[in-house]
């Protein structure tokens, strides 16, 4: 039963959504990497209006990440080569998780392995860590053993990694975060679904690069970086649309360039059951509250009592 709202005339909108059995209070997920580990964002938002928090992506060992500069704006998008700087899984579980365990939201822990075995090892640790609601495997990071190509661009590796993480997760929900740099996103999503994923996150940043024409050097030490923000929204919407159409009923978390409530509505129409917000945090961490309020107002204006009914609600 949706919580009865006090203002009688403006009927409350039921903002709850379910992502493959995981109940979220609202459909907004704080994407990994742009909201810190959680406490950093506390002063700017109300976690009870946030469906889930994905802390900074963690790796098996601490990483210092890439040298400066790590971020560069470009024509409505953001290039980042932070290089997955993080405290490592042990310190995350010991020092960071306790800080966010009592937040009134779900915790979707994003992790990157450099091999299938490492993904499984990390999944096993997260499976028993208190306060981890969902394991989100970031397949858009390089497979160090196999020459550095991203896991998410090889169907076989997606199957192997998903199965390994599923096997080690002790029943905790497993989301697979896919790479958008593929010919057929639905093939990768199907591979994840068929090997035990409860949902797919579509998707991590696109590969991009930029040169400083004055010095004729690449902007980033690693040359290639991740491209995100408003500029990638139309492409990510197409990827979400394809997965939702090819795998009807399979939960998709859509993200890429969501800055306002209208952007989130497009992801629902494309078929997503929830959406992520990453780069927008860097512009204004209050955007989370603003977007959820905007969605509530949109549902009222369009006559939707439950936000989940927006999913795929395209008018032909």
């Amino acid at each position: 039963m949706p919580p009865h709202s006090v203002e009688a005339e403006a009927p409350a909108v039921d903002l709850r959504v379910s992502v493959g059995g995981v109940e979220l209070a609202t459909p907004l997920i704080l994407a990994s990497g742009t909201w810190g580990y959680g406490p950093e964002a506390l002063p700017y938002l109300d976690y009870s209006r946030v469906g889930a928090l994905s802390p900074k992506g963690i790796t098996r060992h601490p990483r210092a990440g890439n040298p400066e500069p790590r971020v560069r704006e470009c024509n409505g998008g953001l290039l980042n080569s932070v290089g997955l700087e993080n405290v490592g899984i042990e310190a995350f579980i010991a020092d960071k998780l306790p800080l966010i365990r009592d937040y009134p939201t779900k915790r979707v822990v994003n992790f990157s392995g450099s091999s299938v075995e490492e993904f499984a090892e990390m999944a096993a640790m997260l499976a028993v860590a208190e306060g981890v609601d969902v394991l989100e495997a970031n397949l858009s990071c390089p497979n160090v053993k196999a020459g550095g190509a991203a896991f998410g661009t090889d169907e076989g590796l997606v199957r192997e990694t998903t199965a390994a993480v599923r096997g080690a997760s002790r029943g905790r929900p497993v989301w697979i975060k896919l790479s958008p740099n593929v010919t057929s996103i639905s093939t990768m999503a199907r591979a994840a679904r068929d090997t035990g994923a409860d949902a797919v996150t579509v998707a991590n940043s696109f590969l991009g690069l930029s040169f400083d024409t004055r010095t004729r050097r690449p902007v980033f030490a690693n040359v290639v970086s991740g491209y995100s923000g408003p500029a990638i929204k139309p492409m990510m919407l197409r990827l979400v649309y394809e997965v939702a159409r090819e795998l009807p009923g399979f939960p998709v978390v859509g993200l890429g360039g969501v800055m306002e409530a209208e952007d989130a509505v497009e992801y629902f129409l494309a078929g997503a059951c929830a959406f992520g917000v990453g780069t927008a945090a860097l512009v204004d961490p209050r955007c989370a509250g603003r977007i959820v309020d905007g969605l509530e107002a949109y549902c009222r204006s369009q006559g939707f009592e439950r936000i989940r009914d927006l999913q795929g609600a395209i008018v032909r």
Binding site: G33, T34, W35, G36, E40, A41, Y44, K56, A64, G65, E68, P69, R70, V71, E73, N75, G76, G77, L78, N80, V82, E85, G229, P230, A231, M259, T279, A281, L282, V283, D284, P285, R286
Partner: protein
């Protein structure tokens, strides 16, 4: 002391070009009653325009604060970028600004001051100088040659009896500046020493301050700040005391952190 920063919708009173560097410009915002909470070394995170380009907020360094409001300076990536941002500012009645943000200089106005500054750092230095002048202390402000005139006019605005502007004609990188700064330290025993500028100036200053017998602090004014809210790790630097996020744990650090 870290002031609790807030989001403001602040009317733009005036936009100007301080001179000395075509990529620099100054904005006066109407924010009455905030002066008491603003300290040299702090900054505002300003959203320029409402579109996707520019997308991230820009660092506007505090150059002064009065009953009516604050004066901020921004150092754009190029003169063309400065012009673009200025035009966008002109068209916005109110600016979305978050601040006063970041750590501030601990002003020890019981001592005379030695301040080295470059680029937008000169604005922070002038703000700092006023605190020492008001306490009747002498101030020696060292700036690159091309900034000398701008520094002089900033200082004149403050009433300049006790302040002497000196300038150096040296590249920020390389040993020459460190040697010059060491000489300055030698002739300023026990002074409160401050530096505000790009990393190269800060490194030279921190090295030269090794044997200084007074407090020495630095303010990193030209780092790549991305979110500014301590969330994205784009501004992290290695210091002897470990990894620090410049945006929230700076811009002001003890000089020892960069030795």
């Amino acid at each position: 002391m870290i002031q609790a920063a807030e989001f403001f919708q602040a009317p733009v009173v005036h936009i100007a070009e301080p001179g000395g560097d075509a990529a620099l410009f100054e904005v006066e915002l109407e924010l009455p009653g905030l002066a008491g909470r603003c300290a040299p070394g702090q900054y505002f995170l300003v959203r320029v325009g409402e579109g996707v380009d520019p997308l991230l907020r820009r660092v506007f360094l505090l150059a002064g604060a009065s009953r009516e409001g604050v004066v901020l300076q921004h150092h754009a990536s190029s003169p063309a970028e400065a012009e673009r941002l200025r035009a966008l500012l002109q068209s916005s009645w109110q600016l979305d600004a978050f601040g006063p943000h970041g750590t501030a200089f601990a002003v020890d106005d019981a001592r005379d001051a030695l301040i080295a500054a470059s680029g937008v750092g000169v604005a922070a230095a002038a703000f700092l100088a006023t605190r020492h002048l008001l306490a009747g202390r002498a101030v020696r402000l060292l700036v690159p040659e091309e900034m000398a005139e701008a520094a002089q006019s900033l200082v004149e605005a403050v009433g300049d009896e006790g302040i002497l502007v000196a300038h150096f004609d040296l590249p920020l990188e390389g040993p020459a500046l460190e040697a010059r700064l060491a000489a300055e330290f030698a002739s300023a025993p026990g002074h409160a020493a401050y530096a505000a500028g790009p990393r190269a100036l800060v490194d030279a200053f921190a090295a030269a301050a090794a044997r200084h017998d007074g407090p020495a602090q630095v303010c990193l004014t030209d780092s790549t700040i991305s979110c500014g809210f301590g969330m994205c790790l784009a501004c992290v630097v290695d210091t002897p005391a470990g990894r620090r996020r410049i945006c929230t744990e700076g811009l002001v650090f003890d000089a020892a952190a960069f030795r």
